[in-house]
Amino acid sequence: MMPPSRIPLCVLLACAPVPALGAPAPRAVDVPLAQAGPTGRALEQAQAQLDAGEFDEAVRTLQGALGEPDLTDAQLVELYRLLGLAQLYLGNEDRAREAYEKLLQARPDYELPRGAPPKVARLYERIREDIRKQRVRPVKLELEPLQDAEGGNPVELTVQVENLALGSRPTLYYRRAGTETFGSAGFKRVPDAPELYRVTVPAWELPAEKARYEVEYYVEVADAARRRLAGRGDAFNPLRFSVRPPGMAGREDDEEGRWYANPWVWVGIGAGVAAAGAGVALLLGQQQTGTATLTVRVQ
């Protein structure tokens, strides 16, 4: 017979008390993500205003909450759901449609609450049917390419994204030219500008060096499944900007700056020679740009 001190561990575990069968287990508090934080309070307030029939106030509350930065997708769904509902109750079909278009991108099966008045329910069904028939609007990304930057300073990039579906995010990918892998940084919404997103490349990623160097980058809008919806540049054809040493104004000054930095260069140059230099410089300068004539014919 097996002595008590040698009882296998599995037997001990099998005999251990099971919480579910004994005293009631403590209930986990299920707080929806959309209700966490200040936006959650706005949602609660808007819901209370809707329940009380204060639809205008609910719209103001929700629009204020939509202007907050860093909203989660769950919060956006709730905000647009309530906003669409409030606009429906107010009879603003166009505005309700805008809100539900955004909501239905993420929740195509969203149904109105059962107690919704028939008039509102019919209006919602019509909106949903119209949205179903429409093609999905393409995501549109606009950006102004980055200009040369001074080393040791952060670089900020702002993009405009239209028709951004819920669950989608713009991301900046960047690397020093000549290296293999791209780093990434997620854009954040610009407060009070629904279509603008901003990202900052930290200064330590762009160190100041004695010589100019190039940074390659591209911007991509991808959905939750990492499918590319829109972009500017890609890993094989990236955009570029230069990082110049501190104190150097621009690319054109690379060579000339050394001349200008040395005051002795100008010593001994008289007024007549300076005038001649200016004349020659202007003569050369006039060749820098030109005019093209385009002749258009119909074939």
């Binding site: 540049g233 202007l282 030109g290 002749t295 014919r297 119909v298």
Partner: protein, 161 residues
């Protein structure tokens, strides 16, 4: 001061006040439009793209330049402002029209893209054509550029802002 010295200074002053900085010429373009869309034509949009070596012309012409990752060469518009693209109202009723582009930097190979935009609001892209042009060449014969028809029009906003 001697007369000879005065003459020298006058010559220098004249040299310095010579023609403006945009007096050079660039190889011209002869743009051929398809008759298929002339009735709907509202304007031309001309953009100049840098890095012509790395650009696939066929790909560029398939859709709007705005939806592609390209680097624009800034031009100068009629008011002296630097712009990414120039837009010209189409008036080819007589079968021909002249356009002038200013402020094109010399010395590199560029891809000139001409997009035919409709007169609709918002405008749609009716056709697109491109040509590689090396500016400041000695031989200034016009480069042919055919703006082929795109049917159906791609779903993109062609207006470069």
């Amino acid at each position: 001061m001697s007369a000879r010295w005065n003459a020298l200074l006058l010559w220098l002053a004249c040299a310095a006040c010579g023609p403006g900085p945009d007096s050079g010429s660039v190889q011209g373009l002869e743009i051929l439009l398809s008759r298929a869309y002339v009735d709907r034509l509202g304007s031309f949009q001309v953009s100049i793209l840098a890095g012509a070596d790395g650009l696939d012309r066929e790909a560029v012409e398939k859709t709007c330049v705005t939806s592609q990752a390209v680097t624009y060469v800034q031009q100068v518009d009629g008011s002296g402002q630097k712009v990414k693209a120039r837009t010209f109202e189409a008036s080819v009723a007589g079968g021909q029209q002249e356009l002038k582009l200013a402020g094109i930097p010399f010395g590199r190979e560029y891809l000139f893209v001409v997009e035919a935009l409709s007169s609709d609001e918002p405008a749609v892209l009716l056709g697109s054509g491109s040509a590689r042009v090396l500016t400041f060449q000695g031989d200034l014969r016009p480069v042919p550029l055919t703006v082929g028809a795109l049917a159906p029009a791609p779903a993109c906003d062609p207006r470069i802002r």
